[in-house]
Subunit: 310 residues, 4 copies
């Protein structure tokens, strides 16, 4: 089942579960997989930033991917293969595709500046891994310092057949969605799946602007599934009510670095992870931050029973 | 009335009002000044980024400052004097202090990297403008790409007597407030006023962590005043309720670039500005974005009557 | 005498002479002006980085420009007007053009990333200062972190009539010259004067690639004039011999920051400046560096008598 | 034979030889190894930027290292293990140490900004790979955008026992050598081997300032050995004569990107490589650049017979 540009719905970004000693917690991988399926996700992304990909050996990366693929049957699994060089990118990409991955996600190296450099990079990457492997373009300027304009995305999509989807997390990014959809409307660009990251902070309006869904690691993927569903059937006020209820917590997660710890902590509190441990150099929430998150969860539980954690 | 480290409460960042043809709208300056006073602000910051400072000539900068100072008696007015060189920084700083400004705000040039460069820069700046002029340190890494650790702030505060306040807008920044307050507690740093910017996105917890107030341009400074007041008297739930009600709009304002247009648009809708015009290269909200803001205002008006705009 | 795209030869970047107390040394301005004329320069650039432009008040900038213009009759004087905002850029540009400047030089703000941002910036700048004012595009990625590809330069030249010349200091930059000349050859771009900066480090091959001359502050502009002349008449070996003789010193000048102090020191030793002082935060060469430069000057004097300093 | 802080002399940065089809050319590795030994190098660095490290798979990296170690007996071989994550860094480091490597070189990730971030990163890296593995700190701000002040290097050296050597390629960097040696003189820092990279552009004065040798990939490592030797025995003029003769070519190599192609081309011309091929995205010199290098080689051959290539 290869990824194509009809992808939509919610592809949560899966964390990599660790025990406190840094070992991989495979039981939690299974629990997460089951949970995602029960939420109604349409796919899954593993080995992204939230998956702590750079902290894994090649063998670990492959094993984690294999387990998620097995545990979420009939859901396309996208695998982050971002790497400083094409040799290791190709090695991982080909191995996970053989295991049944649906496609790979590639972020631009943060040394790219000009439009030509960006286009050239993705052309080379697609050739290097094999042009038959579907690519998700990760467009996250805040994190990677690479700015990809709508016109450059159009060129990428038109010149690189493998690109099927963008993990849209430009900021501000609403106009970019509108621009990309207008390129499709005027016939200058083929259809591209737009699933939005950026922690979900603008998911409400991203959907209104024409996005196909969500592709982020917010600790309530079940909420993301509901908001995407409600927006698609036109129940905007209901979607907004639910989104707004989560916004204080979702906003708290929008703290670079800290956000990861918040996510793992809430997933741990929800019983999905055995531990909220990260591998070094990451760390757990400290006492004050834990109380702040608990306060937000308590308030949220009055509006969304899923947040009731005992 | 010079600024000192007992500053607290709300210092809104004032926009510079323009007519559609780019001329300065002095009537709106008076209206804004009156409005800020009526909100209960404790001070005011002019010629910040939101004041479109780089688009003003020296003479305009001085005139705008003079008018705001005159219109907000007994409120300390801080003036942004950030400049690529010390000659023009000194010229503006001395002129506005002569007019009655309370202090100046200085952002670091985005070429600074090392701790030593940062410390050296502020030492030179204070000497250049005159060591008797109070300084607000603008700590905004997202915008300026300069990262100032708590320890470097401590060194700056201890070595540069002129520094009285930090416009805290690091992100994530909660731990930084905790760290700075712990330096005061252990006696290694004199007291520093911490007023928080960053659009107000974390004002709720910033106050809990020990901040003295707010120093941002959110389009409802009256809400900021209420939240700061409620937090100071320990009514955390009431503060959070009010804050959460505004969060969907406040979050929408957190779009770099677009945020300025949102602020001017809402202040225009609230009758405070005659126009939401910016000088080039800024622009007004487009039709879709306007509808999105109107939708958020409408929803907000059901929870906070101040948002009811007719 | 307005600058146009037939500009060629050597436009040295003039330093701003200061006394040790930071006051402007007008006698040295006259001496420099006379010296440049005697060297055979074809023009002059003032208020560049080497002119310590950000350390000058507006009034000083205007006075220095006026004096250089007066002292170098019949030589086009280009004036650096780079500024964080268009209001002050326009003010300086219009004032110096009224005084007889030939054009202005504008560097891109270091926040520009995408091709569209760069193009938009120069379009706005030209409109802001007046489209009749000739512009020199300063293309110096190492210093400004803005990368302008040959295609973007072509778009700028074709869409902005005011652009007449590029101060070429990309690095590596030889292929860029070849690309720009090929655009002229294939008719896709009108002629553009290419004068090379980057301290002169590649002047030998830049001339072979099609550059029109030199636009840098190396402390022997007389050498630059000879090399440009020899290259133009095809005496490549003679040009290379002279260039190679200067290369050890010229290379020593290629130390960011330090280079300015070297230039002022050698110009001081050559009797052109009364002092090698810079305004803060710049400084003089320390003792060890002074000895190193003296050693290089001594060795150079055996190959080029102009370096014999008594 | 583990690296320690008495390292000195010349550690050339070895290229990775490829055939035109991208396969690794093991015969050229042997030729290079023999050549380096015959030049009188005291050590060797492999898998640096010049070794095209990111383009290699893990298995290739190990094989190349093993072959160089075997071919250069009694010379310490330093291995670049820079990686986006500690898992793969540790894997490579431990494997090459088991094969007999003398130590590893680690460059800072280009996201580091503050002093504390830099110190913390190297502390974690040393722990991650094993504190008994000697580390060469690569200090190359131009390439990595990380600025490490002398004081921070002192802290690193004092707090991380594994650090034995710095590959010094700050620019400007002469004052940094002087500062580091003064820390040793005043007893505040233990001895650190300083071997200089930066293409050799300042090797003459770096040696005078107290450097222990050269650690760069210039295409005439035999010249580097002679200059280092002459400087150490106080024959400064002779060293400078030889250095100056090479400077036009050495300077030409100082073109980011292009420099790699120049080096491989000259090593190919010298009969050491079978091909000057790079793996994608690198490429060979084009026709014009080839002629420019040939011209410089021809001129050099009149001063240094080693450059006579038939």
């Amino acid at each position: 089942m290869k990824l194509n540009s009809s992808a939509n719905g919610v592809f949560p970004i899966a964390p990599t579960p660790f025990f406190d000693d840094g070992k991989i917690d495979t039981a939690s991988i299974d629990r997460l997989g089951d949970f995602y399926v029960s939420c109604g996700v349409t796919g899954l992304t593993v080995l992204g930033q939230m998956g702590e990909a750079p902290k894994l050996t090649h063998a670990e990366s492959v094993a984690i991917t294999a387990q998620f693929i097995k545990r979420t049957p009939n859901r396309p699994v996208v695998v982050g293969v971002t790497s400083p060089g094409f040799a290791s990118m190709r090695a991982l990409a080909q191995e996970v595709m053989d295991l049944g991955a649906a496609g790979v996600m590639i972020a631009p190296p943060n040394t790219l500046r000009t439009d030509e450099q960006i286009i050239s990079y993705y052309q080379q990457a697609s050739k290097a891994i094999g042009e038959n492997i579907p690519i998700v373009l990760q467009d996250y300027p805040l994190s990677f310092s690479v700015q990809i304009t709508p016109r450059v995305i159009r060129t990428l999509v038109n010149e690189i057949p493998a690109i099927q989807m963008v993990k849209h997390e430009d900021w501000p990014g609403l106009e970019k969605i509108t621009a990309l959809r207008s390129f499709e409307a005027d016939g200058s660009m083929r259809h591209l799946a737009i699933l939005c990251g950026n922690g979900g902070l603008f998911l409400d309006f991203e959907m209104s602007r024409g996005a196909d869904g969500s592709n982020t690691g917010y600790c309530f993927p079940d909420m993301l599934c509901d908001v995407v569903r409600l927006k698609k059937i036109g129940q905007h006020d209901e979607a907004q009510d639910l989104f707004d209820a989560h916004l204080p917590l979702l906003r708290y997660e929008q703290q670079p670095g800290t956000g990861m710890a918040v996510r793992k902590y809430v997933l741990f509190r929800r019983g999905l992870l055995s531990s909220d441990a990260q591998r070094a150099p990451g760390g757990k929430l400290n006492t004050i931050a834990t109380k702040e998150v608990d306060y937000l969860l308590l308030r949220l539980s009055k509006k969304d029973p899923r947040a009731k954690i005992t």
